[in-house]
Symmetry: C2
Subunit: 430 residues, 2 copies
């Protein structure tokens, strides 16, 4: 919530308006340069940025200690503190991430399709950078490095707005990135951090439709909803995932147990972790077996009446639980009458992120994959596979829950759009 508090926003001062306008204009100018920058220069800039980050590590870690001290004084929760914290190992992982981005194929200038019309016009559909991308995210400072480097490699300029808690860390990271860009002759303004923690800056950013082409918000429902309500700029939402595991009556029990445990407990604080389990009523005799590994792993289970009848440790689920992203070792469990009810429940309560069916019935699996309206739907596999790396796409900015432009993992290709280039020799339209 720190990136865009739900309240407390005051009318922006004239100074802030001027400051943000300058950020936008610098970004637009940088985007024009980046769009024309050859692959090798972009790679060189990112490698130089990685070197600058390594050289600047003491400064960055010191900045992070200041952020941590403020966050501890403000009594942030342990989970948030953990997301905020940088140590040499985490910083090095972020730097290696930049080097990996520098090695990705350049997504710009690919001819997606090409055809010649009977009148001789040759039409090409070619990938181009999006332009200026505004990214609004919460505490994790490593996003600053990931998002900045992916945007640059795809030929875009980035305006980053991290959580206020990580402001010092992000500022130090962006300064080092800028040193690398400058070393390769690229404008520092290709990656800018909103230079203030004032909340009104976000409201201004969302209205800069001339300077910004896309807003990528990463976070919880209240952040995303406020961005969608206020933004005049297209939004590629990265909502947390309310993901489902559906165990169909034709599931193989051992496989279902393993997929459920992995989907829920491999990591619990990630957007592709399962939050709700739906089980066919016909599976009721096996429900105790299905849930046993979750109990063993320390997961709290909140179930409907049928589920409660299976094990005394099951707590009663409330109506709100079907709409809650726990992001914790908690799962809501509901018995359903079959495939239709499961699909309807997921389309109503899910976040269109990731949902999996476990079944040996191919027909049921096909219907589930067709009818569940989520960016990624799986059959007999863990929800936690929804990830750019696991998909083989390389680094990602996150997982889109929007329906347009890009669904699922948003990697470097998804940070481009296309234009049509038409080659003629004097053709006139009759």
């Amino acid at each position: 919530m720190n990136a865009l508090g739900a309240s407390g926003e005051t009318k922006p001062s004239a100074e802030l308006v001027a400051l943000m306008a300058a950020v936008g204009q610098r970004a637009r100018a940088a985007a024009h340069v980046l769009a024309r920058t050859p692959s090798e220069t972009k790679r060189a800039a990112l490698k130089a940025a990685a070197r600058a980050l390594r050289a600047g590590a003491p400064t960055i870690l010191e900045a992070n200690r200041r952020d941590m001290a403020s966050a501890e004084a403000a009594k942030l929760g342990a989970a948030l503190l953990d997301r905020l914290m940088l140590d040499p190992k985490r910083l090095e992982a972020a730097i290696v991430g930049i080097e990996e981005v520098a090695a990705l194929p350049d997504p710009v200038g690919r001819v997606l399709a090409s055809w010649t019309r009977p009148n001789g016009l040759r039409i090409e559909r070619v990938t181009v950078p999006i332009g200026v991308i505004g990214i609004i995210y919460e505490a994790r400072p490593n996003v600053t490095a990931d998002a900045g480097s992916l945007c640059v490699m795809a030929g875009n300029a980035a305006i980053l707005r991290g959580g206020s808690d990580s402001f010092e860390s992000s500022k130090a990271i962006v300064a080092a990135l800028g040193d690398g860009l400058a070393e390769a002759g690229l404008p520092r303004a290709a990656v800018q951090l909103v230079p203030t923690v004032e909340r009104a800056a976000v409201g201004l950013l969302l209205r800069m439709e001339k300077e910004v082409d896309l807003i990528v918000p990463r976070g919880g429902r209240s952040l995303i909803e406020r961005v969608q309500a206020e933004s005049r700029i297209p939004v590629l939402a990265h909502l947390d995932g309310l993901c489902h595991v559906y165990v169909h009556q034709a599931a193989q029990l051992e496989m279902a147990r393993a997929i459920l445990l992995n989907s829920k407990m491999r990591r619990t604080g990630v957007c592709n972790a399962a939050e709700t389990l739906l089980v066919d009523k016909a599976m009721l005799p096996a429900l105790g077996d299905l849930l046993a590994p979750l109990f063993e792993a320390g997961c709290e289970i909140r179930g409907d009446q049928g589920t409660q009848s299976v094990d005394r440790r099951v707590k009663p689920a409330t109506a709100a639980d079907w709409d809650t992203e726990f992001l914790d070792a908690i799962i809501a469990v509901k018995l359903v009458s079959g495939l239709d009810e499961a699909i309807a429940h997921i389309n109503l309560h899910g976040s269109h992120h990731t949902d999996t069916i476990v079944t040996e019935d191919q027909g049921a699996a096909m219907r589930f994959l067709d009818e569940v309206d989520s960016g990624v739907v799986l059959h007999n596999a863990s929800t936690q596979f929804n990830d750019g790396g696991q998909f083989g796409m390389g680094a990602e900015i996150g997982i889109s829950t929007s329906k347009l432009h890009a669904r699922g993992p948003v990697g470097i290709e998804q940070l481009t759009t296309y234009k049509y280039k038409v080659h003629g020799s004097g053709q006139l339209r009759p």
Copy 2:
């Protein structure tokens, strides 16, 4: 402006709120059905709709006469009256358009990409319908038939909001479309017209983010800007085009004359008509020859000082002319120092729609195609080629000026999105 007047909107009544909610819910339910409807049923429904429109022609033309009578009483301009008017020939053309849509390849269910990961997971990227599409447009009643049929063939439900001037005509067309859908067993609610001319209905539609997946506004800048400001739903803008012809110093004069005349005068009221001519100063001696065919065709020319010096008939251009979509036999003409100034002018003043360069210099052409940030950029061809039919894509809803999801002609393929289907055999993420 009739679809969404800039003023005069009152707080919606409870009845209107309930009415629009019901429209949205019916559309969502219809979209779920459409998404699962086989190609052959969709084709049968559209063919039945075409038959119903032919059978209903007298009713539709009578409804159009009522619209025309009101519009004449309200003293609408001749151009608007012409766009509003339906006669048997125009109606038949719209019906043939529906039959052509029924013959297009089904864009749903195409596997865009498919790969297998080392762990055996098979990942498919598959086209799916977008869902519910809200289309806001101005007077032309034939859009009702085009947009409705394209949405249905792509598996979507449509909520149409035409101009209030064409309300009776659109109502009659949608009733006939509904008869066709019902005959094929599809829900009538697959194509709905907002059942009131109340302006507040549009404000409500733009906030129905649960029920509507995409808003397509077609019209002038004030309509598009208001939709972008108010909508909580992704917007695919169809802004009128402020298109440019740039005659480079290495242009072949005869080709330039012909492309300029065709781009400006083939039709003047269309979005792909040229509105501004940029000419290299080096071409000044040939400028009189370049402009002569425009004068002959009755085009008004508003030029900068250099252009005025060429011909007394050239009127002085004002600063506003560079930002004006005349949609009429008027063109603004500016001399530029070369390619850089031309590109900068277009990126600043254009609507990112369609721009063409005339030159024999391949290097200059490549830079223009790369650096002009428009959906369609052409070399040695008329701007009026930016059209779904001319691109070989079949019918179109219009030309997108948005940067994301779809640029250029929006045909049936652009009315789909994609999802990932992942096929496993019990894979767990390490």
